[in-house]
């Protein structure tokens, strides 16, 4: 299925929320309220990373991890019969692993679960201690379009969005819980959010794609989250945004007609030569494997 032929006409909403740390029921209530508020006016609503649980969970990961068939998710699945929902949660796998995950619900079922591939364990972060890492980037084939889900740090690694680009996603759905940092002059605004702006705009342009960015707000033990959720078109123009660090909602219509025009004008996917990268990887990966094995031997 090619995105060029597919007809997408999706009213996308991105919710900027402030989850209560570790309180699944309070957050579920907040999700349902926001879903209710835009039902009939949106086809898909995107929530931030770990929107159902809060971010700095540490030992609470165990308490809030859910299997996709958990009863608690029933009201969300029910709501997804009216509006598709992408939301952040901790997924408990059958083997007992916990994933920082973005669930995609539609028509009362899970259409996909993206497990965060690039867990962050530097600076403020310690995700590798608490979560298992995902291993792939899969496009979600929704009735409203082909969506490329990404969780926060995933976007910083070129192969993430590039994989969705190769698989002809119509839109990247980026869910984030990104600390608000960097108040140095002259700005303007937070350094962290300026960086996100560059990353999101570059992604829209490099992959000629729609970008939905749901970014949380609020504070957890003095760490603020940066917000500034938005929807960018394939030219990187903002079509809707939530300004500042309060909860809110941004909505825009994202369509395949705009994509087609943008991709006709600059046909980056058509002209992409993934085999060059494939050849490079073929050279690098065996070498990397050998190095890794050697490293493991040395540290035995």
């Amino acid at each position: 299925m090619s995105a060029y032929n597919a007809r997408m006409d999706c009213r996308l909403a991105v919710a900027q929320t402030n989850p209560v740390l570790g309180d699944l029921r309070a957050n579920l209530g907040d999700h349902l309220q926001r879903i209710e508020a835009c039902a009939g006016r949106a086809d898909l609503i995107l929530f931030p990373e770990l929107s159902l649980t809060g971010y700095f969970l540490r030992d609470q990961v165990e308490d809030v991890a859910l299997r996709p068939d958990d009863e608690l998710l029933r009201p969300l699945l029910e709501a997804s019969k009216r509006i598709s929902i992408a939301f952040g949660f901790v997924e408990r796998s059958p083997e007992g692993r916990s994933y920082n995950a973005l669930g995609f619900l539609e028509d009362g079922r899970f259409l996909g679960v993206h497990r965060k591939v690039h867990l962050v364990s530097y600076g403020l972060f310690d995700e590798e201690r608490d979560f298992a890492a995902g291993e792939r980037f899969a496009v979600v084939e929704s009735r409203h379009g082909r969506f490329g889900p990404l969780l926060c740090e995933d976007l910083w690694h070129v192969p993430s969005a590039y994989t969705h680009f190769l698989n002809e996603a119509d839109a990247l759905l980026v869910a984030s819980a990104s600390p608000a940092r960097g108040v140095e002059a002259p700005g303007p605004g937070l350094a962290s959010q300026r960086t996100w702006s560059i990353l999101l705009s570059a992604s829209a342009l490099l992959y000629r794609t729609w970008v939905g960015f749901a970014s949380r707000v609020g504070w957890e033990d003095g760490i603020g989250f940066g917000g500034e959720s938005r929807i960018l078109d394939p030219y990187a123009n903002p079509r809707a945004a939530v300004e500042g660090i309060e909860p809110g909602l941004a909505q825009a219509r994202i369509d395949s007609a705009t994509l087609r025009r943008a991709r006709s004008e600059v046909p980056l996917r058509r002209d992409e030569k993934p085999w060059i990268l494939a050849a490079e990887l073929a050279r690098h990966v065996p070498l990397l494997s050998a190095l890794r094995a050697e490293h493991a031997l040395q540290h035995e």
């Binding site: 030992d59 002059a185 033990d221 660090i245």
Partner: protein, 273 residues
């Protein structure tokens, strides 16, 4: 323009949001602040007045009999400008009951006792006021360890702990706090004629530039010296940061059980708040 400059409007917006959310997560709406007459507590009081409304901020003046009377006058000026209620508690009686009876002469010990007496009053009045104690230590003081543990270093929240002294001044100007409060030399006012910079042996302006590089920008001491900073000053400041680490972390608990507080009982303070 200084390399330490921040965007004061943005800083204030963030800190007001921080104060509101962290106080409400403790299920409270009010705060108490020890008002020293200095720029740090003035900035904190102004931020709290914005966050909660002045009527919900109690400024507490805690003079000792040797305190500079200008300190109380400045504190009162700040409170009047902000419209916050104040309470005066002279700590001479409680402090001297111990200091004189025990014959404590050493200036450092006396200073620590005064700071801890003030803490006792703040925490007691915070119960009466139904408010959290908001701290007023800035990042320069925290990193240099220039505070009394369990004294002025005791509080529930601190909005300015990630702002260097230079940045506190910048925010104070933005908040249009009284010029006299901003301009006077910083002092803990624990003994007569005391100033921070005389006691530390260097200026905040120099310390801030060095700390910015050592801490925020992860420079090595050698890189600082290569950039032209005084080797001795860099060494002294770096050493202060290391030797005062104990003031910035919770107390050490011996780990004996299968799960111990402070080690692998890992929850935020905002646990389910």
């Amino acid at each position: 323009m200084s390399e330490l400059d921040v965007q004061p409007a943005l800083v204030c917006d963030l800190l007001v949001s921080f104060l509101r959310e962290e106080v409400s997560s403790a299920r409270l709406e009010r705060v108490v602040i020890g008002l020293s007459g200095g720029v740090d507590s003035a900035v904190v009081a102004a931020l709290c007045a914005r966050a909660f409304g002045p009527e919900n901020v109690l400024g507490i003046l805690l003079p000792y009999r040797t305190s500079n009377p200008d300190s109380a006058a400045d504190a009162r000026r700040v409170a009047e400008q902000l419209g916050i209620p104040t309470r005066d508690v002279d700590i001479s009686g409680m402090a001297d009951a111990y200091l004189q009876a025990s014959g404590v002469k050493d200036a450092r010990r006396r200073g620590n006792v005064l700071a801890r007496c003030r803490m006792v009053v703040l925490y007691d009045l915070s119960v009466e006021w139904c408010g959290l104690v908001v701290g007023t230590s800035n990042k320069s003081e925290l990193l240099l360890g220039y505070s009394t543990q369990w004294g002025d270093g005791a509080y529930a929240l601190n909005p300015i702990g990630d702002l260097y002294k230079h940045q506190v001044y910048q925010v104070a100007h933005y908040l249009e706090l009284p010029e006299g409060v901003i301009a006077k030399p910083p002092s803990a006012d624990l003994f007569e004629g005391q100033t921070d910079e005389a006691e530390l042996g260097f200026r905040y302006a120099d310390a801030d530039r060095i700390l910015l590089r050592l801490v925020d920008r992860r420079f090595s001491e050698a890189e600082l010296v290569a950039e032209g900073f005084d080797r001795e000053l860099v060494r002294r400041i770096a050493e202060r940061v290391v030797t005062s680490q104990f003031k910035r972390v919770p107390p050490v608990i011996a780990k004996l059980s299968r799960r111990s507080v402070g080690h692998d009982f890992r929850y935020l303070r905002d646990w389910k708040r």
